[in-house]
Each structure stands twice: as structure tokens, then as C-alpha cells.
């Protein structure tokens, strides 16, 4: 099996005719963990939603290949089946479908008819992963995200990540709304996934998650593009000094999208 690869070239994305992503380049390979940091309103979540195929976002320019194939030629479910995963900032609630049934449908969607995961094996895996994420077993039988607290939803996203085992995962502000204990649990789940066949893009505006998941590369996003890249030390400097030094260095007054001179 070849190493997973997600390659983004000169990506431009609009929502309702307003351009949010303005020429973004990034390459993620299996075995790598990337972090995109940046203040609010700089286009981070737009990037993740557009890559997954959120219906509200329009890709106006650029190429994205996933394992060599044109990502934008694929439907949302095809992207997922090819191995892309997005842990969402605001996961939907779906009434009437239990978490367990949903997960089983998602796993079986990747398998040929007749090759579905056996119920026993599924339950074993689910129990194991829920234990690791310190989730009460009752969550398996609750309706998908319905009435879950913010933290429960985030854990549930990581549970899906671990059960589905994608090739490249994007975690969109998975740390927002989490207390420190929950944050550690989520980090434990992601670290569990680390291997050469798995690449990850973590989107966050706090450095604190990166204390528990050490990234290989850190990128700073402002005004809809990546303005600075570096190693883990970049995240630490951002934590200590904030973003102002980057803005000074680059001559940016307002980092949010649509404010550049």
C-alpha cells in the first residue's frame, strides 16, 4: 500500500460569493501530523469543510489530489471511502439512528456486499475504543449526537475516527469546548492512530492540544492562506508570544479574511 498523500495547490474557496481561501498550498503525507493555527476568522474551518465537500462552499480555483486522484471529482461519500475523514467542529444531531447503527453503516459502506463486519467483531472493537476514550457504553445506543454535550460530541467524532480508520484525517477545532481531562482523552485517541499509514491535519487556535499531540509541522493561517510554516517550536512561540510578531514580520494589520490591503 502506498503512503497516503493529500496535496493542495493554489486553492481558492468562496462562500456566497465571498472568497475565504485565497490561494493555499499544503501537502500532507502518511505518518505526518500537521497543525494549522491561526486566530478566528482566518479561513481555517472553511479549508476543512471545503476539502470534505460541504455543500455551502464553492471551490473556485486550484487543485487538490488525494492519493493522486482529483478530490473535487469525488462526491462527499466517495472522498470518505477513499480515506478522507473530517472530525467536525459542529457535528450534526440525527434523531432515531443509534450511534452504533450509524458506525456500522459507515464501516460497512467501505466493504463489499457479503463482506460486512460481523456483529461480534464490531461490538468488540467499539467496546475497546469507547473504553479508551472513557465513554460510557450507553453512548452506543443513544441517537447520533442527540442531546450530547459539546465534549461528548467531540469524543464521538474521535470514536468515529478510530472505528473508521481513515488514511488522512482533518480535525477541525476538536479541542474547542473541551476541559483538560477531555482534551487528554481526545489526544490519547489521536496518538493511538499514529502510524505511517495515517496522516493528520489538526486545526486549532490554541497551542494546548499540541502539548499532547506533537505535530511534525505547524502552519499559521491568516487572510485565507498559509503565511508561515515551521516545526513544533513555532507552536510554542505562538503560545508564548501570540500572533502579533508574525503580523509585524509580514506587515499584516488585520489577519482576518477580506481585510488585506
Amino acid at each position: 500500500m502506498s503512503t497516503p498523500n493529500l496535496k493542495i495547490e493554489n486553492l481558492r474557496v468562496s462562500i456566497e460569493d465571498k472568497e475565504i481561501i485565497k490561494g493555499l498550498n499544503l501537502e500532507i503525507n502518511g505518518g505526518e501530523i500537521h497543525a494549522i493555527m491561526g486566530p478566528n476568522g482566518t479561513g481555517k474551518s472553511t479549508l476543512s469543510s471545503a476539502l470534505m465537500g460541504h455543500p455551502k462552499y464553492e471551490v473556485t480555483e486550484g487543485n487538490v489530489t488525494f492519493n493522486g486522484e482529483d478530490l473535487f471529482e469525488m462526491e462527499v461519500d466517495e472522498r470518505a471511502k477513499a480515506g478522507l475523514f473530517l472530525a467536525m467542529q459542529y457535528p450534526s444531531e440525527v434523531s432515531g439512528i443509534t450511534n452504533a447503527d450509524f458506525l456500522r453503516s459507515a464501516i460497512n459502506a467501505r466493504r463489499e456486499e457479503g463482506q460486512e463486519i460481523s456483529l461480534m467483531k464490531f461490538i468488540r472493537e467499539l467496546d475497546k475504543k469507547m473504553e479508551l476514550l472513557e465513554m460510557d457504553s450507553s453512548f452506543a445506543h443513544r441517537y447520533l449526537n442527540e442531546g450530547f454535550s459539546g465534549g461528548e460530541k467531540k469524543r464521538n467524532e474521535i470514536l468515529q475516527l478510530m472505528m473508521i480508520e481513515p488514511k488522512i484525517a482533518i480535525l477541525d477545532e476538536i479541542d474547542s469546548g473541551l476541559d483538560i481531562d477531555a482534551l487528554k482523552v481526545v489526544a490519547k485517541g489521536v496518538n493511538e492512530m499514529r502510524n505511517p499509514e495515517f496522516g493528520c491535519l489538526i486545526i486549532t487556535h490554541y497551542q494546548r492540544l499540541l502539548n499532547y499531540i506533537t505535530p511534525d509541522k505547524v502552519h499559521v493561517m491568516m487572510q485565507g492562506r498559509i503565511v508561515k510554516s515551521g516545526g513544533p517550536e513555532l507552536a510554542q512561540r505562538l503560545e508564548a508570544e501570540g500572533y502579533d510578531w508574525i503580523k509585524e514580520e509580514l506587515g499584516i494589520e488585520d489577519e482576518t479574511v477580506g481585510q488585506e490591503a
Partner: protein
Amino acid sequence: MSVETSFKYDKDYVGKFSESRQEPQWLLDLRLRALELAQQLPMPKPDKTKIDKWNLTEFNHISSKENGTELPEQVKALIGEDGEAGNLLVIQNGKTLRSSVTEELAAQGVIFTDLVTAVKEHGDLLQKYFMQDGVSVDENRLTAIHAALVNNGAFIYVPKNVEVKSPLQAIYFHDDEQSGLVNHVIVAAEDNSSVTYVENYLSTNNEGDSVSNIVSEVFAGPGAKVVYGAVDNLAKGMTSYINRRGRAGRDARIEWALGQLNDGNTVSDNTTHLVGDGSFADTKTVNIGKGDQKQNFVAQIFHHGKSSEGYILTHGVMKDAASSIFNGITKIEHGATKSNGEQTERVLMLSEKARGDANPILLIDEDDVTAGHAASVGRIDPIQLFYLMSRGISKAEAERLIIHGFLGPVVNEMPLESVKKRLVEVIERKVR
């Protein structure tokens, strides 16, 4: 508006038909009066649905198709374990194929038989119930046609204090594209008795232009309990007019669990009269429309008795270019003090062309009551679809999951396992 009808069955025909069945005089008289009314009365006027272009009056009365002696496969598939226990009625194209009741029930005086047999063997008892206080002959042209041409159906009678433990199952199967289905069901439960009845309507006529005219009358005497489950699954080629009506006496209870899943144009009315003090009705319906199907559903409960309680819960899914009207009516009459009426209608539309219209109506002529209603009509949430698809689930499968999720709260509340199971099967097929 009076429409001239070319209704092809006359006095002579109806008289001979009744004679060939060796029917008692009262039924012949009723049929002949109904026939006259059928030529005078207007068509029913379902609220907000135009049915003037629908064919509900022209059909062949009696099927010329001969039934085999074996049960058709489609019927076998519907017979649950309870049916095999011996309380089963199967009618194919209007002709009785199986009719059995356990000795134990028969010994207690329980009657569960086809309508043709009931006319012959229990004529006097049947007369007390048949189109008297439930559905009247003279409500409109279609109830009159029903009375004039009623062909078969079921008669269930449970004497005082008898509790029928296992459900009674009836299957009305139609595989003749030419003939109509004029079916009548009576469930009469005497004081302090209880019974559960489950029926399946199934037809295979996707093509053609056939008619079903179905009436059910349920009478729950003082302290009696009737659970009535139905799964309607008539094919596209059949236009349906369905009336299911109940009357509950003092402290009586009627529970309806209706899967209204026909593929053809359908007008279906479910009405319960809470006549006695302390009576109770619970109506749960699941409805799906697809293709260019047009449907009109009424669920209504009239509170006459004091301290009566009525609950209506309706969930509908509209696919493709299907359109449906859902009218929920809670009427609390003057004097029905301390009554409580609640209703909820929810409609989910899957496409731009699908239409659903939910009308919750509370009519209250008494001060000392409680009542409430809730209704919602909405399209499928594209963000929800995106979420499910982002996990690798195809659009069709994601829609299927959302539909099941939407209908689940009603399906899961259905009082009978067999109805639940059958509903899930039919929903599965209809939403694919």
C-alpha cells in the same frame, strides 16, 4: 356540484348478488337503499385535496379470477407466528381463502370470521353493528357505494369479559388488476373484553385502474380495550378510499397503529368518537408518499365523554413529487369536562417537488379541558446529509437512515411487534 355517474351496477344486479349470497332481508334492503343514495349523494370532499379526477367509482365488482388452494407467497410472508397459532383470515380478490379461529376462543364465544360467513351465520348480531353507529350509508356517494357493493371483510365479536390474548390477523390480498376491493371490517368488543386485531392490505396491481373502498368499524364497549393495527400497502394501480372509525364507551380504550403506505392515490380517514366518560384513544400513523402520488390523511378524535383522553401522533415522509395533506383534528364537545386532547403531526420532504401540508386543528367547545398540538413540515437537512456522507455513507443510504430516524419514534411506539416489523419492511421498500 353533482356529477352524473355512469355507475354500472343497478338494482337488478345488486338484488341478484345479494340473493346469490343468501343474504337476509335487512342486508338486501340496506344495499338497495344504498344504491339509490349512491346515485344521489355527492362525492366526499377531503379538505385541500381535489379528487374529482380520481376514479373511485368505476370498477368491476367481482373478480373473475379463481384462487388456488395454496396461500400465495406474498401472503405467507405476512403470516406471523400469531397467525400460525390459528387465528387467521386470508381473503384473496374478495374470496375467502382461509378462515380459522382456535377452539379455545370459539368456546368462549369469540367470533372471528369473514364477512360472507358472518352474514350467513351471525346475521342478527352483525346487523346491530353494520353501518349503523360507525360509518353511515348516507355520508357520501362512496359510503353508499360501499354499502351497496360490499363484498367481503371480517367480523370480530368478543363477548363480555373475554380477553383475547393473541392477536387476530387478517390479510386482504389482491392480485386481480380488473376488480375492485370493497372490504368491510367490524370489531365489536363487549363490556370489559379485550382484543388485538392486525390487518394487512396488499395488492400487486401496479398498472391498471382499480379501486379500493374500505370501511372499518370498531366498537369498544364499557371497559373494553381494542388494539387495531393496520399496514396498508396497496399498489400504484389502486385508488383508495378508506374509513376507519371507532366508538369507545365508558372507560373503553381504542389504540390505532396505522401504516398508511399505499402506492396509489389515497384518501384515508381515521376517526374515533370518545363517547363514554373516561374513554381513551391513541392514534399513531406512519405515512409515506412517493412518485406522483397524492394522498389525504385525516386523523381525528371527538371527545364527547367527560375526562376522555385522545392522542394523535402522525409522521409522514414525502419523496419525489408526492404530495399529501395531513389533517389532525381534536374536537372537544361541550360537556366533555376534564378531557385532554393532544396531537402532533410531522412531515419530512425529501425533494424540491415533494409537498406536505400539516394542519393541526383544535376545536374546543368546553372550558374545563386541556389540549395541545404541534406540527412541523420541513425538508431534509443538507448539513445532516453531508455529515452522514462524510463518513462514507452514500446519499441514498443517508436518506434512508434519516427517514428511519424520522419515522422511528412512531414505529417504535406501535403497540404490536408484528406491525412494527411489517412497517419496517414496507418502509424499507418504499424509501429505496
